[in-house]
Symmetry: C2
Subunit: 367 residues, 2 copies
């Protein structure tokens, strides 16, 4: 296979990262360095899961002038939902906050990224869905992931669905990248097993897609290979949630996010996006469901994926698309083949010849 | 072996990186984005090797108001030499330049880092030798490596020798990290074979030291492992300088620099520093010479290193320390055991019991 140039000419890293058990305790000092006499308020976006689990929320260095918002992640982020959160911040804070902290999984981290951009750039979230539409730096922002796999802590996008237009697209911008990431493997100790697996597999899946693609470069490949090596160690081990494996998966997620900067996904993500847009499945479990139909596209990785499922004895939902109305299959088809760049990356420019409507339906039915 | 915490709490990445054959052509646009009506001048620090090889120097987007300085890298950077270069910039430029570009190997890239810090912070280079002594951001700076291995393009230090005090120590600071790195494997096509190997081995050697150390963490380990995987592919192949291998080694150098942010070196670097300080050997070749005496500390990697030397048919100097005056051996001993942190990392706190003066002399004689 001929390798094509990715066309990605310049990539942005997270500026600072801190890694280690207990390192969430560094947050107070990092925020103090941003607070000034003129501007002292910090906004915390915390996954609503921690509203009940008070241990983490209580540990956050929330001062009197700060605002703590629990983000409802029952559904994935929408442009409208983000606009509402931003309105809430504007109402409660007299000025633009000096820092914004996202604590949670991909949905919460993406929400915080979008809000940081909107607070300084103004306007509505939907105005920035696309590439490089954000015109100035967002509020200084810190990510504290509480689950590993999406790479949201390291990427330049924040995925949002625009319910009005049906568009699922992020604010792809260098300004969307976090200024600081705190990777504290203590925080992933209480993640439920299935969710831990599904989310971790996001890192595995985008890296197998990248390495099988036409658009490649040596630095994206290096990030992807190390991510896969770590995922294999974690998910082929006896205890994927041991402290050591939680460390490794946190690193895999972070490096996997780095891989995204220099590569493209393939067949899994477009199908998974179909499941999310049409049937409301969350991104990570949707990826895993899609893997039920990926044998012919990724034969070796298909086998490896299912051996990891066996090894960890986790549940992957089944039959989501086995018996839908014809209209739904058409919607699934449309929302899959719209992803031209990843499908071209995986199957070449003639990907529609391979993914005909009937073939696509048959693949969805296999899930 | 018990793994100890590195004590490194927060690490800074290079802000932007661009990777690909021909990507040096992006430099003009990146500089144009920094030039303004008020401040338009850029300073280029270019390895003096390119003074004769005009192709590269001619390709640089040097404008009329800019200053191009060829850096003499016959010897490694000294604090005095850096002060002289900074004085030259101050004399020729009316104001602080809007950008600084380093084009060359580790010595040139380190020189540019130090100069960027001094131009905004004032004072002499020796005032900043140490940890976190730089008080404000340096001039915006871009690295364009022309040889791979040192990782200088990615690290937070710039190694300099203070001839007055004998101290070989860099300005360890987040401000020392490059804002932009351009990794263009075209630029390493003309590197002489031996030099290509010696410098490339800097990445290999610091990663084997890191992974064998007591002070470790999962993110440093991940960077080191991927760096080693790439070095093995390059140096165990038939043609270490093929375009594909030059790409890989450029990535290995960059990721190896990233590894340094979260790990420590071991036995090789202290001995190598002795060879540099006492006998004037350049860092990379000194590392390779040191490997002659490393069998008992790194047995597996010792064998692998020498099989790479065989495979690539390169020359590693020998006998540098076989017949010195006793006084020189004493100096070599002193300038080796002064590196307490890496030696503790490798051998534990009682490292002086292992590295007695007579044992150290014997090791140097083996080189």
């Amino acid at each position: 296979m001929k390798t094509l140039r990715t066309g990605i000419s310049n990539a942005r890293h997270v500026t600072h990262y801190s890694f280690g058990f207990g390192n969430r305790k560094l947050l107070a000092n990092l925020l103090d360095a941003r607070r000034s006499d003129e501007n002292t308020s910090v906004v915390f976006f915390v996954d609503h899961h921690f509203e009940k689990n008070e241990t983490l929320a209580d540990q956050l260095p929330v001062e009197q002038e700060d605002l703590l918002i629990f983000v409802d992640t029952t559904n994935e982020p929408t442009t409208e939902g983000i606009d509402q959160l931003v309105a809430q911040v504007r109402e409660k804070c007299e000025q633009i906050p000096c820092a914004l902290v996202g604590v949670g999984g991909g949905a919460t981290l993406d929400t915080a990224k979008a809000a940081a951009n909107l607070l300084t750039n103004g306007g509505k979230a939907e105005e920035y869905q696309g590439w490089d539409l954000v015109k100035k730096p967002g509020v200084y922002k810190i990510a504290i992931p509480t689950i590993s796999g999406t790479g949201a802590e390291a990427t330049r996008t924040c995925v949002m669905t625009n319910k009005r237009t049906g568009l699922k697209l992020g604010m792809n911008s260098d300004y969307t990248v976090y200024d600081q990431v705190i990777l504290d493997p203590d925080l992933t100790a209480t993640v439920p097993r299935d969710q831990y697996f599904w989310t971790g597999m996001d890192a595995y899946i985008h890296c197998i897609e990248s390495l099988a693609g036409h658009y490649r470069n040596a630095i994206g490949d290096a990030f992807s290979r190390q991510t896969l090596a770590l995922c294999r160690e974690v998910f082929l081990s006896d205890d994927m949630q041991s402290p050591e494996n939680r460390e490794k998966l946190m690193v895999a997620s972070y490096l996997g996010g780095g891989a995204i900067a220099s590569s493209y996904v393939g067949v899994v993500h477009p199908f998974s996006a179909g499941l999310s847009v049409v049937l409301g499945a969350h991104h990570c479990v949707a990826n895993c469901i899609t893997m039920r139909a990926m044998e012919e596209f990724y034969p070796k990785e298909f086998n490896e994926f299912w051996s990891m499922v066996d090894q960890q004895q986790v549940h992957i939902p089944k039959g989501l698309c086995s018996d839908l109305q014809e209209e739904k299959y058409e919607l699934l088809y449309d929302s899959t083949v719209i992803h031209e760049k990843p499908l071209t990356n995986a199957l070449g420019e003639q990907f529609r010849r391979i993914l005909s409507p009937s073939r696509t339906k048959e693949l969805f039915q296999r899930m």
